[in-house]
């Protein structure tokens, strides 16, 4: 009987530990997946901005909509227990300044929504899209580890 209890206890403890670790790495995997999607949505627009692809408002609008929804979702994907425990480039500084960090997501969403209304042709794309992308760099410079 005692042995059974002990085994159950150990199993339960292990299960809690594993699911905890899973939750952390799940948040990490989820946010990386979303950010990768943000990057993929940006690629065709980046080509337009560099003049390598013709203007296509559908792609620009899709990127902006992706930013707005991703920004809202991402705010919840940096829980305190996801500093480590997976392959993450998120810097620990995020959790010292969580409000400042989240504010950049808010600004990204607001700028993306504003730009969506303003972009109608190539000229308005070039005039308005850069400002939105400035938020990516503003956050990455401070809160994301550089590979190189």
């Amino acid at each position: 009987m005692k042995l059974v209890f002990r085994t159950m206890l150990i199993t339960a403890a292990a299960a809690i530990a594993i699911s905890g670790a899973y939750a952390q790495s799940a948040a990490i995997a989820k946010r990386k997946d979303i950010l990768k999607g943000v990057g993929d949505a940006t690629k065709p627009v980046a080509a337009m901005l560099k003049g390598e692809a013709p203007f296509d408002n559908a792609k620009a609008q899709k990127a902006l909509a992706t930013y707005a929804s991703a920004a809202k979702e991402l705010k919840g994907l940096f829980p305190a227990d996801s500093k480590t425990g997976g392959d993450t480039a998120a810097l620990p500084k995020i959790w010292d300044e969580k409000a400042k960090f989240d504010a950049i997501f808010d600004k990204l969403a607001a700028d993306a929504t504003a730009a969506a209304g303003a972009i109608k042709d190539e000229a308005s794309l070039k005039a308005n899209f850069g400002k939105v992308l400035g938020n990516c760099k503003a956050c990455h410079d401070d809160y994301r580890a550089k590979k190189s």
Binding site: K43, A46, K131, L133, G134, A138
Partner: protein
């Protein structure tokens, strides 16, 4: 209070002599602005990649100009007049530490090496930028990125960051040395680089600089710009 009496004759105390010609000074202060703007355009200009890139092309053009000017410019700007053998640089360092350095109209033997290091690093900074891009390859990339491998781009970006760290350190040293000389040793080096003139002194290199001509400077600048912009376009890169 008596106003200081200005002596009309060129007494040894007030007399000044040419140290740096106009093109050299214009180059120098332009480079200061461009290096600062290179930092600024990256820090607050993330939304405007063209700002950073054009600033970098201009910096590269100026560095190339300075290399040419080092052969045909004013006497104090010529490499042959300020690149000292290491032995002389060390002797100058020893004399400085002992508190009795010789005075130079142009660069002193240590300062000359600082100038070469700064020119070299800013040049490398600009060249590495031509091959660098942001990590996600989305916002900013140099004109040669599309011709090289992804690993080369990462390598260039890594060095573009590191070289700038080195530039920051050298700039700090360079500025500190000049502030020290100007305000502690009372040798007006900063005023000299601003106005072109320094007090008459028994300088170790020469008594008076022979200025380079503005026409020669214009030719050097035109060649430098043609190499940078022509080179990028001829290679098929987009500015």
């Amino acid at each position: 209070m008596n106003a200081p009496v200005e002596k009309p004759s060129a007494s040894a105390a007030g007399a000044r002599t040419l140290a740096w010609d106009g093109p050299t000074r214009l180059f120098k202060w332009s480079l200061v602005l461009l290096v600062f703007d290179g930092w600024l355009s990256n820090t607050v200009g993330g939304a405007y990649p063209a700002w950073h890139k054009w600033n970098g092309y201009l910096a590269l053009t100026l560095i190339l100009f300075r290399v040419l000017w080092g052969f045909v410019g004013g006497s104090t700007a010529r490499f042959t007049n300020f690149i000292a053998l290491p032995g002389r640089a060390f002797a100058y360092l020893r004399a400085t530490l002992a508190g009795r350095p010789q005075k130079y109209l142009g660069h002193n033997p240590l300062g000359g090496w600082m100038v070469m290091a700064l020119l070299g690093l800013v040049g490398l900074q600009a060249v590495s930028g031509l091959f660098a891009a942001d990590e996600d390859r989305l916002v900013i990339d140099g004109p040669f990125v599309k011709f090289v491998s992804d690993a080369t781009v990462s390598f260039a970006a890594k060095w573009h960051h590191r070289i700038f760290d080195a530039i920051e350190i050298l700039v700090l040293l360079h500025v500190a040395a000049n502030l020290f000389a100007t305000f502690v040793k009372r040798e007006p080096l900063i005023q000299g680089m601003a106005t072109g003139y320094k007090p008459v002194e028994p300088y170790a290199d020469e008594a008076r600089a022979r200025p380079g001509s503005w026409a020669a400077a214009a030719v050097c600048l035109a060649i430098a710009a043609a190499v940078v912009f022509g080179g990028i376009l001829a290679a098929g890169g987009r500015l």
